[in-house]
């Protein structure tokens, strides 16, 4: 067996591109679970709130209920799928032992985080874009500040990619991983103003809702699309950036130290 001399040309960013490519290929290989299922779920929500109940509900003056609920549903798809991509991919690697294949390579901690994050953001944004495209069948959106809306969606996907990494590192088994989704993310999304404006809630609940970090994401995104929100866009944007940075630093510290990854 002939073996030519080792090509010593080390390409510093190739480990990152490879991991990113692998993560993207991974979710496309199981597209029925990772893309089709969330799109069908979003379509059902759109049908229920856009074509049936929506016509009988009005929560925001000047807008149909479908127009109100669509930004929330788009962002819900972005959030859920960014989180699910990072958390399931990293947790499966840890659980099945495949993570050692990565730990022995020259992938640096920033490359590790960036590759997982970008793949998760891509999946989240794809689901968000398809949800928006389907929503055009039910209602058009005014797109008050489209670039800010895209920025909010990117921030939301980034934030939940970090949260997905953190959940995957701390999860002991599939049950604890699903607890993050079922007992934390879903209640915060549903209580964060996807289906109703916080302003219509009675006093204690209205104020309590302001403690829900997801309220700022959803409200900021809707504000950028409809031009109205429960809080100013600057506040929603600021809170979202602060949360994204906080989780990024935390995820970075965990992965940099190899917490629960390297013994």
């Amino acid at each position: 067996m002939s073996r030519s001399d080792r090509r010593d040309e080390f390409r510093s960013w190739l480990p990152f591109y490879t991991l990113l490519r692998k993560e993207i290929l991974r979710f496309f290989r199981v597209a029925s679970q990772t893309l089709l299922t969330p799109i069908i779920t979003a379509s059902l929500y759109l049908f229920i709130f856009g074509a049936t109940l929506g016509e009988r509900i009005s929560v925001l003056e000047g807008f149909s209920y479908a127009q109100f609920v669509i930004p929330g549903l788009i962002l819900m798809g972005v959030i859920n799928n960014s989180f699910a991509n990072c958390s399931s991919s990293l947790f499966m690697s840890r659980y099945l032992g495949g993570i050692v294949d990565l730990l022995v390579t020259p992938v640096t901690p920033p490359q590790f985080i960036l590759a997982y994050t970008l793949a998760a953001m891509l999946r989240g944004m794809l689901v968000g874009i398809v949800t928006w495209l389907i929503s055009t069948l039910f209602a058009g959106l005014p797109w008050h500040a489209p670039l800010l809306a895209i920025l909010m969606a990117l921030l939301a996907s980034f934030l939940f990619a970090q949260f997905g990494l953190i959940a995957a590192i701390f999860a002991k088994n599939f049950d604890t991983l699903s607890m993050f989704t079922n007992f934390l993310i879903l209640p915060l999304i549903y209580l964060g103003g996807v289906f109703y404006p916080i302003s219509i809630l009675p006093s204690p609940w209205k104020h309590l809702s302001h403690l829900n970090p997801l309220f700022y994401l959803i409200d900021g995104f809707r504000h950028a699309i409809l031009g109205v929100g429960d809080v100013s866009f600057a506040v929603a944007f600021g809170v979202t950036v602060a949360m994204a940075l906080g989780l990024f630093v935390f995820a970075g510290a965990l992965i940099g130290k190899g917490y629960k990854l390297r013994s």
Partner: protein, 315 residues
């Protein structure tokens, strides 16, 4: 030294200095020191729990170093971890597979993790030499145990590492495949790859390794050439079939650890490999034993290993 003189510094393929690792209160690797020369096949042996896999995991970067240092071809594996990891390929003890991809897809991707572009010619050589061709488009879940092992070896070599670590590479594989993998490892070694091998099969170490280190309870208990270790520590056994049975071991043979077998008709004596037999023959002649037949056998690495790793054993 003249100014401007070019000095070629030969670094060992692997150099481990005062390496320690604790897991909680357990001190699993204790002050380990050894080097592997470039181009050799080196065996790291020891019973379960001896600290071999922890050592390998520290070399590969899966486990953090407790204290001490590891360098690979002169590069520190903490401060220059990107360089050292690109120089090392690891075949893990546990079968590590990713069921999302076929063998073909996984091998095309894998060199990129090491910063090395996919080389189709080298990939094809590995596929052919390891007999992976007919299985290229199968997902790994559908592969037999032996095929998974072959794939893991191809994956570890895909970026052309200069140091290949084989952690129990033939555990659970049949004899034919085991011998095939030994041949392949020798071939890879002839082509310039240094090999660090851990194994439970002492025959494997004896057959493959120029030098061996034996670990027990986290400590190094032997480190020398395999042949020298066997020669120094192994014993020959001499079996004598006697024409009449003895009731007791004859006096004067104590240093040969004599014992009787077969209703006193078989006398078994042990003698160190390096010791000549002249003195023993003289003593047997003096005892005037009637000897019908005799047989000798030479113990190998297995006996040496057991001797060194037995409770309280050490070199």
């Amino acid at each position: 030294m003249a100014a401007g003189a070019i000095v070629a510094v030969m670094h060992p393929a692997l150099n481990i200095t005062r390496l320690n690792k604790h897991f909680g209160p357990a001190h699993v690797v204790k002050d380990l020191n050894f080097s592997i020369r470039e181009g050799e096949i080196f065996g790291l042996l020891g019973p379960n729990g001896a600290g071999k896999s922890t050592t390998i995991n520290m070399i590969a970067g899966v486990t953090r170093i407790g204290s001490g240092s590891i360098s690979v071809f002169g590069h520190d594996n903490v401060s220059s971890y990107r360089t050292t990891r690109s120089l090392v390929g690891v075949v893990h003890q546990e079968v590590v597979i990713d069921n999302f991809f076929t063998i073909d897809q996984a091998l095309k991707l894998h060199s990129g993790y090491y910063g090395v572009a996919d080389d189709p010619a080298w990939r094809q050589q590995l596929i052919e030499r390891l007999g992976l061709g007919p299985h290229l488009h199968k997902v790994m879940l559908k592969l037999s145990g032996g095929m998974k092992r072959r794939f893991m070896i191809a994956k570890a070599l895909i970026h052309r590492p200069r140091l290949l670590i084989l952690d129990e590479p033939t555990a659970g594989v049949d004899v034919e495949l085991r011998h095939g993998l030994w041949d392949f490892a020798r071939e890879i070694n002839r082509n310039g790859t240094t090999i660090l091998l851990t194994t439970h099969y002492l025959e494997e170490a004896e057959e493959m390794c120029e030098r061996v280190a034996i670990m027990n309870h986290g400590e190094l208990v032997a480190l020398e050439s395999t042949r020298e270790l066997v020669r120094r520590l192994s014993r020959r056994t001499l079996r004598l079939w006697l024409d009449k049975s003895l009731d007791a071991v004859p006096a004067g043979l104590e240093e040969y650890h004599p014992r009787l077998n077969g209703n006193g008709r078989q006398l078994i004596l042990c003698l160190p490999t390096e010791q000549g037999v002249g003195d023993l023959l003289r003593r047997l002649s003096h005892l005037q034993l009637g000897i019908n037949d005799f047989e000798t056998d030479q113990s190998g690495l297995e006996e040496v290993f057991l001797q060194l790793t037995r409770e309280g054993g050490g070199a």
